[in-house]
């Protein structure tokens, strides 16, 4: 026992020394220049059985082998590019394994070949190990034909003439297809290809052969050599065309076919398309819209997470329908679990998580003085039906849905400081998430466009199912809505929040949950002066919004109490003619009166109806318009009782109610229709000035027509 006690301690140091001696050859000194040393960065590594990967301070041990994981196909079409960044290889070490992606691998050849048909071998190396993959390059067994890209097919469908239902037809279908010069544009035809079994082959890349023709004095002239290089850079494998500034405002015809003799002659192997080049950034997906936004810091972390570098663009052109998805919205726009202003005990907790924060604009742009930014939809559609809703108006917590008036917009344009820029949005359709409905949560739907401090042209658009299509704010100098259509909104179709020149021309707006237009006098004094009055001008346009007065909007703005008065007025007007402001409608509950609510003019300080003294005008064509300071209201200003409504038809006839009957501006009784057989009021509209006890009036523009019923 004593001997063992002595021997064992002696053996331990001997054992240690022995271990040290045997491991000596395995120690790598990274500072030596010994060629046997394995340097992972060397392009010519010396094979060794004892390489240790210490990447990230992890000792994985010896690299045993590489195993191919993914990223390469067995078969490529001729001229198809192989993206080596997509290659993944599993590096198997003694103690661990590591997934290595393309950028950390080396390849031989550096650029894999696909230019001729055949069998190819690609060597993939990591550290000192290699594997080889084999792929084939094949010809299309059969191309039936080429066709225009599916996005161009959509464009052609959008500009086509519609049948009887014109609501989806653009009023101006002649603008043409635009391509921006800020970045490359991809034109990739549909290649209808099949293998020798007749099975469909999806072609994602091909070698194209392009011709560019410039339109000069009505004739197309093919560009070659320097003439071609001066206007466009073509990547015939990527199928992209990057036009230069020299091409701006010019028209081109692009003709492409697959490269190769086999496809050189037949007409069905060629496609051709005419484009116009303009300043602007070509947009094909939702994330591209980020370049429109030069204001919201909410987007900064989102951009960083997706490696999107902001670009200063001069305009924007769509080349696809774009469906906005919630996953592509920055977190800052939403209420999320763990936010300081969200608690489990909140009455709306089940609805608020994931909802949008009110008073924000998803894509907002500040426009500088002298700048004219053009947002050209190229007739494509922006769809935000899948967007979340606003659940909290401001920061208010409601127990039940349906009480929110949303202030969230998809796009906003704001002039810079004290100067007004120019903004044009054109050739675009949009579908929103808040149609005219009973569903209360849609009161938190998105407005499509807000403009402030800019001169705005909203041209040739079609927008449906928005909370409100467009709101023009108090410092907006001028807005013209031209050749545009709007339908089916939860709230008003349009809103002027103190815009001094709000013009609607050659347009059609039908079917709001409330009035077609709300026009506010914002920030006025008690005597109705100052601030920002609204002046609405309607030229050659159809405005219509038949409502029963029970729609969500009336509840939201506490206007339900006014409805019986409106209906009563409509009934009363029938004493003085066959025309009136109401019509017999049919509901699920039976017959009910409805009215055509064109415009509401009110104080911008209130969401509910008030009769604060305000200014503003609502002019439809050359008819007599609503004008709080016009000749009629000025003449009858001293008349009492001021609480009774005042009537002014677009044909110029006027009336007041003296508590018992209608009288004219001279306080003379108006003779009822039964004695005259003549309508007292004429024209298509009735301006009514309501007073609820304030020192002014609420102005409402109704449609005026002969009374009929829908049943």
């Amino acid at each position: 026992m004593k001997k063992r006690r002595f021997i064992l301690p002696m053996l331990v140091p001997l054992l240690v020394v022995g271990l040290l001696l045997t491991s000596c050859d395995d120690i790598i000194d990274p500072t030596t220049t010994d060629p046997t040393t394995t340097d992972p960065t060397s392009s010519d590594p010396t094979p060794s059985d004892s390489i240790t990967d210490t990447t990230g301070d992890v000792d994985r041990g010896e690299l045993l082998r590489l195993e191919y994981v993914s990223g390469l196909k067995e078969q490529y079409m001729i001229h198809e590019q192989i993206d080596l960044d997509e290659v993944n290889v599993q590096a198997v070490f003694e103690n661990d394994s590591l997934l290595v992606t393309g950028k950390d691998l080396t390849f031989n050849p550096l650029v894999p070949l696909t230019n001729t048909i055949g069998v190819y071998h690609l060597e993939i190396s990591y550290l000192e190990k290699s594997i080889t993959r084999t792929y084939w390059v094949v010809e299309f067994d059969e191309i039936d034909n080429l066709d225009l890209p599916s996005s161009i097919a959509a464009y052609q469908a959008y500009i086509s003439e519609k049948g009887v239902d014109k609501r989806s037809e653009f009023m101006d279908r002649t603008q043409g297809y635009f391509v921006g010069s800020d970045n490359p544009w991809r034109f990739f035809p549909e290649i209808e290809a099949y293998d020798d079994d007749g099975e469909e082959v999806s072609v994602s890349a091909y070698h194209s052969s392009s011709k560019i023709f410039e339109k000069r004095a009505g004739e197309y002239v093919q560009l070659t050599g320097d003439d071609l290089d001066n206007v466009v850079t073509i990547d015939e494998f990527a199928s992209t065309y990057h036009f230069t500034s020299a091409a701006i405002d010019k028209t081109y015809r692009l003709t492409v076919r697959p490269y190769g003799e086999k496809y050189a002659t037949k007409a069905k192997y060629e496609v051709s398309f005419e484009i116009k080049v303009t300043q602007g950034y070509n947009v094909t997906k939702q994330d591209d819209l980020l370049h429109f936004d030069n204001y919201n810091s909410y987007w900064d972390p989102y951009r960083a997470s997706k490696n999107i570098t902001p670009i200063n663009i001069s305009g924007l052109i769509l080349h696809n329908d774009i469906k906005l998805k919630e996953e592509n919205i920055a977190d800052g726009f939403k209420y999320l679990e763990g936010d300081a202003d969200v608690k489990l005990t909140d009455k709306d907790y089940d609805r608020v998580i994931g909802s949008l924060r009110d008073n924000n604009d998803l894509y907002r742009r500040t426009i500088g003085a002298g700048e004219h930014f053009v947002f050209n939809g190229n007739y494509f559609n922006i769809d935000y039906t899948a967007l979340p809703y606003v659940v909290r108006e401001g920061e208010r917590i409601d127990e039940e849905p349906g009480k929110v008036i949303s202030h969230f917009s998809i796009f906003k344009v704001h002039g810079e400081d004290d100067t007004a820029g120019n903004f044009t949005m054109k050739n675009l359709s949009a579908t929103g998430n808040a149609n005219r409905t009973e569903v209360g949560i849609k009161s938190g739907g998105g407005m499509f466009l807000k403009v402030n401090k800019s001169i705005t042209n909203f041209y040739n658009t079609i927008v449906k199912q928005a909370f409100t299509i467009l709101i023009s704010e108090n410092e907006a100098e001028k807005i013209i809505i031209e050749k545009s259509r709007g339908y089916d909104t939860f709230s008003s179709l349009l809103y002027s929040w103190g815009t001094i020149d709000f013009t609607i021309k050659d347009s059609e707006f039908i079917g709001a949950g409330g009035p077609v237009i709300i026009a506010d006098h914002y920030d006025h004094a008690d005597d109705g002066t100052g601030g920002y009055p609204s002046n609405v001008k309607v030229i050659n346009s159809k405005l219509e919004s038949w409502v029963f007065g029970q729609e969500n909007w009336f509840t939201l703005v506490s206007a339900i109490a006014v409805v019986p008065q409106i209906i009563a007025l409509g009934v009363g007007l029938r004493v003085y003619g066959t025309n009136t402001i109401i019509r017999g409608g049919m509901t699920e509950d039976g017959p009910a009166e409805k009215f055509n609510l064109i415009g509401v003019m009110k104080s911008g300080g209130a969401q509910a109806p008030t009769s604060d003294k305000i200014q503003g005008t609502f002019q439809i064509d050359e008819t007599v318009g609503l004008d709080f300071d016009g000749p009629f209201m000025s003449a009858v200003a001293p008349y009492m009782p001021v609480e009774m409504p005042r009537f002014q038809s677009s044909g110029g006839e006027v009336a007041l109610h003296d508590g018992e009957k209608l009288v004219d501006a001279s306080n003379q009784p108006i003779i009822p229709y039964e004695y005259t057989n003549q309508n007292h009021f004429s024209g298509d509209y009735m301006n009514v000035y309501f007073n609820f006890g304030g020192n002014g009036h609420l102005g409402i523009v109704f449609g005026l027509a002969d009374y009929i019923t829908d049943y």
């Binding site: 469908a157 469909e200 999806s202 496609v271 149609n435 729609e551 009563a568």
Partner: protein, 161 residues
């Protein structure tokens, strides 16, 4: 104005206020539009025969195809081409309660007629092949043209085989 008329107006107003207060406790839309959410191509009718379709979903292409009746898996049918071959696209929409169930039919229009494989009548979906080849047809909801689906139809001239 006669006092009776004033009385009638006042009575109607009062009754309306009461009725609204009692009955219309919540907002009500009586004519809400229900939009098409999905368009499904059920079949293609050639003569008196109906040919099934299947949905092809690939990273770079998607849409309906005419199913080859001679194969037991989903494969695109190469319909034998003959001059002035016509066929009808049969579809249905969801939801069934859609206010306007109509769709329009579109195919690309080439500036050179020699490139045009087929035409389609906008409202009926009647396709006419001008030459053999593959053509795509979009079906778009009338109430919202951005709601769309697509079918590719292939015809082949087997007389050259």
């Amino acid at each position: 104005m006669r006092k009776s008329v004033v009385l009638i107006i006042s009575t109607i107003s009062l009754l309306a206020i009461i009725a609204i207060g009692l009955i219309f406790q919540r907002a009500k839309i009586y004519d809400e539009t229900v939009y098409i959410e999905e368009i499904i191509v059920k079949s293609v009718k050639i003569g008196d025969d109906f040919f099934e379709t299947y949905y092809y979903d690939h990273e770079t292409d998607y849409g309906y195809r005419v199913k080859d009746p001679n194969k037991d898996h989903n494969a695109q049918f190469a319909i034998p081409y003959q001059e002035n071959l016509t066929m009808l696209i049969i579809y249905e929409v969801k939801p069934e309660t859609s206010t306007n169930k109509n769709v329009t039919f579109h195919t690309t229009i080439h500036d050179d007629i020699e490139r045009q494989i087929a035409t389609v009548e906008r409202d009926s979906g009647l396709v006419t092949f001008l030459q053999d080849g593959t053509a795509s047809f979009d079906l778009r909801a009338v109430d919202n043209p951005a709601t769309t689906t697509k079918i590719k139809i292939r015809t082949k001239d087997f007389s050259f085989d």
